[in-house]
């Protein structure tokens, strides 16, 4: 205890320095005058509280860590049934979830369906980034750039050439993939941390270009009135455009704006299911295994004849293409896009989703995307603290469980032996 006293005092002092000026005093702007205002007693008592907590924590760190060792570490996977039973239950479970996904929107409010659609976009983005960060172990901080490429591809093609959503969807994916390839080719030879910074810079460049290329992209004002997707040519608007036909007229039902919302939701569900299917397959294909091997040990990969650049590039391109699809759908859903939607914060949110879900784990990423988009909606005050919490979550997760809440389970492969 004696020996712990000095570090504890030190930590308390550090905590005080970290909080006293920045929280205890606040700068207020009144016209041209800047003034400082001391915080109220409540804030100061919080600061005092924090200092004491840190002090006590440091003082009793050893007994505490001993206590922690005795507590069993939570193992979520241990709660699941073993792999044979799971393999048998899986198809049923998947069928149940899929049916639920399609039936559910008809029973709830419009707002809920709309939120679900947004969540699905994040699921797609999370799954896409998971390829790059989780599988291949490449830290991409400019993922939002590919999302922007997808969104602007649809917005521009639709505005200037009148192409429909369904035509633009593959184009957006391809174009985003091309961007990923062009950017990735030079930078993927770089070490991991350089790659992170370069992708971060690239994300910013794309945003700056979109902001300044005013006569094409509309600059900061963005592009509005983007056409919504149609169902085999049937539109979901109240009145049909020239030569078009609307959904409600075709089926002879009265117009209901929630048809459109549900339709968008169903499109998102389809896209997400497709994403999950494709990524699931790829993960078990040679290229998917190569991604993970590269994450584990690049030198060993080279010694076995795998070309690291090509493999990284394929992960990068593949991840980018999913962002492109998501971006295209995002533009269609919003009907309006501007560079505001594609800031670094967005990249950070997607990264937080991947990190929380467990790098490499698909189910984990899906659940994390749901949690991260729905929680802020449930409590409005939460919105204010959202980014603070995302940052904190990233730090804590890495310290506590770098493999995420739901770590990836290795596939079980049966060997036939003679």
């Amino acid at each position: 205890m004696q020996r712990a006293l000095f570090p504890a005092l030190f930590a308390a002092g550090v905590t005080f320095l970290l909080t006293c000026l920045v929280i205890g005093v606040r700068l207020e702007q009144e016209g041209p005058n800047l003034t400082v205002v001391g915080a109220d007693a409540e804030t100061w008592s919080w600061i005092g509280f924090a200092v004491i907590v840190v002090f006590l924590f440091q003082l009793f760190q050893q007994p505490l860590s001993r206590l922690k060792q005795r507590l069993p570490s939570p193992d979520v996977t241990g709660l699941l049934p073993d792999h044979k039973l799971r393999a048998r239950l899986r198809p049923w479970l998947i069928a149940l979830v899929v049916v639920g996904l399609f039936v559910w929107p008809f029973m709830v409010s419009r707002g809920a369906v709309d939120l679900a659609t947004l969540t699905l976009i994040y699921v797609m983005l999370g799954l896409g980034l998971n390829i790059v960060v989780g599988f291949a172990g490449l830290l991409d901080l400019g993922y939002v750039a590919f999302y922007a490429v997808g969104a602007y591809t649809y917005a521009l093609l639709s505005e200037y050439y009148g192409l429909s959503f369904w035509v633009c969807l593959p184009i957006a994916g391809l174009l985003a993939a091309t961007f990923g390839c062009i950017l990735g080719f030079p930078v993927l030879r770089l070490r991991g941390d350089y790659l992170a910074i370069v992708t971060l810079g690239f994300g910013e460049i794309i945003r700056i270009l979109l902001n300044n290329w005013t006569n094409v992209t509309g600059g900061p004002n963005g592009i509005g009135g983007i056409e919504k997707p149609s169902l085999f040519g049937l539109e979901f608007s109240r009145r049909a455009s020239e030569g078009g036909q609307t959904f409600h007229e075709f089926f002879g039902i009265s117009y209901n704006s929630s048809h459109k919302v549900i339709f968008l939701y169903l499109v998102a569900v389809l896209l997400v299911l497709l994403t999950i299917y494709v990524i699931n397959r790829i993960q078990r294909m040679p290229i998917g295994r190569a991604w993970e091997a590269l994450r584990e040990d690049e030198i060993a990969c080279r010694s076995l004849g795998l070309n690291p650049t090509v493999i990284k590039l394929s992960a990068f391109t593949m991840g980018a293409s999913f962002a492109g699809f998501a971006g295209c759908f995002f533009a269609a859903r919003q009907g309006f896009i501007s560079p505001e939607s594609f800031t670094f914060i967005e990249s950070a949110i997607i990264l937080a989703i991947v990190v929380l879900g467990g790098m490499g784990s698909q189910l984990g990423v899906i659940l994390a995307a749901i949690a991260m988009t729905i929680l802020p909606e449930l409590a409005r005050e939460f919105q204010e603290y959202r980014m603070l919490m995302f940052g904190g979550v990233m730090v804590l997760m890495m310290l506590w469980r770098p493999q995420g809440l739901l770590p990836m389970k290795r596939p079980h492969l049966e060997l036939k032996t003679s």
Binding site: R26, L27, L34, V133, A196, G201, V355
Partner: protein, 308 residues
Amino acid sequence: MTETSLYVLQQLINGLTIGSTYALIAIGYTMVYGIIGMINFAHGEVYMIGTYTAFITIIGLLTMGVGSLPIVMLLALMTAIIISSTYGYAIERVAYRPLRGGPRLIPLITAIGMSIFLQNYIRLAQGSRDLAMPALVSGGIQFGDPAVFEVSISWMQLIIWVVTLISMTALALFISRSRLGRACRACAQDLKMTNLLGIDTNRIIALTFVIGAALAAVAGVLLGLYYGTINPYIGFMAGLKAFTAAVLGGIGSIPGAMLGGLILGVTEALTAAFFPSEYKDVVAFSLLVLILLFRPTGLLGKPEVEKV
């Protein structure tokens, strides 16, 4: 002299001013990288916190009636250095030390989380809008032909140059003369070996974070006064620029960081002179990518051979 050349001269002066503050921040990146081989992603936020503490101290002192400019600036520098260093230390303790020796991706993510956390922490505590302060130091010297183009060097710019020069000299002396400085150099050479020789490398690593943070705080005070406005988001761009400077000069090399900062500052100022100013950020990034591709060791860096 013609108008264009005077104009370019003015831009050079402005570029050197900004560049010297980039250099101050870049040293933090380079020193940390030199020792643990990792980028401190949260370094830009330390700079941002430095500007906030400086503003708080200056306004506080002015309200209390302390009017002497040197005293105000000195106290602002000291407070900013103390608070920012504490943040630098905390970043190392929380985001780097517990993860040492693990996969490299992990501390990278914690550092980014840290950066997001700190940015929003300041946003919540101090508000997200721009805060503007009336100029403390005004005036300067003018030369050139008033009829053609008048080149001016403001007193603030001179202060920036002098303070930067003093800080750099102090750092150079510390690194080359003091025992701790020698330990720093030893760690940069071979961390494991230095540890075996009985030097507490954890302390040395923490020290580099602290020194880097202190220099970033100096830059924060200077740039805060120079621009007169701050917001919680300035750390992002400043961090990226300073990182570019560090890579340009050769990451791991302290003279390189200084050189890189100056070159980047001048390049940006010249770009801003002839193109719309939004593109100066694009130029900085493009420069970064080009260096990484064609000369990843930068101007003064040592080549790295990957040990197999």
